[in-house]
Symmetry: C2
Subunit: 251 residues, 2 copies
């Protein structure tokens, strides 16, 4: 089973590290846009030219969302071509054998991840390719899960809430701390506990705070304290979302 | 050093557990509103009547925000009276010796916490009482930090972002998953990584996603996918907050 990996961004690097010395994975080439390197430090051939791509069984695209269609189109028409994006339709790939291999994680450049903790969403047009991609995910230790395109879109949207939006709340909290000479570290135990609680009860059940209690005194005091108009909007929107969520519940 | 604890809610129970068998803490009574029990299972006298409260050195109020002023007023005028609330002014306590002992954590009823992981914000009118409250926090293993009333208000506001608002984002993500037959568990590794990243870089540096990239295709696709009007508002507000935050940065 010959694999070619395309892309050397955050995810590309993580997949390279998981594949390169794996006894059951035959990584034969690594495509990197604009590189001058011809061989990785592990001896894997590198190319920056799609016209120099070898023949392989699986072409795995860990490239930007917008490049998937364009790059796939230049790959052999009979191969299995697979992208890794949460929000790209599988059918932008023109090959008959197409698939998705979507790791549900946010990757960093400077820290190798342990794929055994990462769910991978799998989709493919042909049944045998679903099996193949499930096996590939299992081979690097991950937990594959078959996701339809629709489910993958929902997971990606939920991931934006859980990762991007949560991270911005932390950014706003850190700004408040900084402006008042308080270490952000003060909030870390609370943050860890917020996440830990989801293991023993649903977030719906874990909700607390002035919005839920409709504690008008604290709510208006907080709005007075907030100087940043963006944070004010966030505060108002999330407070009203919490109240409406539990209000609807009562009906 | 005789202590009386007032309140048997989530925090009251946690403080009781930390105090009751501690060799250096002399818990002499526990006030619980409306209880018929006269003694705790550890033998500590319990009362539901403020007129039967003993004389003590510290009265520690772990009661609802709105009851602090009213209850404090019925306690001995020469004692040190201390509340535990993030958003209640210290000066609602009429006694000359007043203080705040504010644990920065969200407590559950069903799980005892380890105070060694919890910062406690300390404030008091008299210097010797600051020292006393710092010692009390250290005695139960916690890390005390002197916080002015203003700082405590800011910490409480930041805690609302980090705990209450983050938790509601998780509630919305869980609702999306449920509506599409997806286990919320799929998102847990991403959630854990979101928190872990704050240890190696600031949340400001860790931001990723369609809002930051101004990826219009994904943003409008997500808005189409979202049916819940509250979630739509959250999505729009946080997307625009992220974009304005980084836009202001460029100026």
């Amino acid at each position: 089973m010959k694999i070619i990996l395309l892309g050397a961004g955050k995810l590309g690097k993580q997949l390279y590290a998981a594949f390169v010395n794996h006894p059951k994975i035959n990584l034969i080439q690594w495509y990197q846009r604009g590189t001058l390197t011809e061989r990785s430090s592990d001896g894997i051939p590198i190319t920056s030219s799609l016209s120099k791509i070898y023949q392989a069984d699986i072409y795995l695209l860990a490239i930007s969302d917008d490049s998937v269609a364009e790059v796939a189109q230049k790959l052999p028409s009979t191969a299995l071509v697979v992208h890794t994006a949460g929000s790209v339709q599988m059918n932008v790939i023109p090959q008959k054998r197409k698939g998705v291999f979507y790791p549900l994680q946010s990757f960093s450049n400077n820290q190798l991840v342990d794929f055994s903790t990462i769910p991978i969403g799998i989709e493919a047009t042909e049944e045998k390719d679903v099996t193949l991609l499930m096996e590939l995910a299992q081979t690097i230790g991950s937990k594959p899960k078959i996701l339809s395109s629709e489910q993958r879109e929902i997971v990606h949207l939920a991931a934006v809430l859980v990762n991007n939006f949560t991270n911005h709340l932390l950014t706003q909290a850190a700004k408040l701390c900084e402006a008042h000479n308080l270490p952000f570290e003060l909030l870390r135990p609370l943050l860890i506990e917020t996440v830990r609680k989801t293991e023993q009860s649903t977030p719906h059940e874990s909700q607390t705070g002035p919005a839920l209690r409709n504690d008008q005194k604290t709510l208006s005091r907080h709005l007075k304290l907030i100087e940043n108009p963006e944070l004010k909007k966030i505060y108002i929107t999330l407070t009203s979302a919490i109240q409406n969520h539990y209000e609807n519940e009562k009906l």
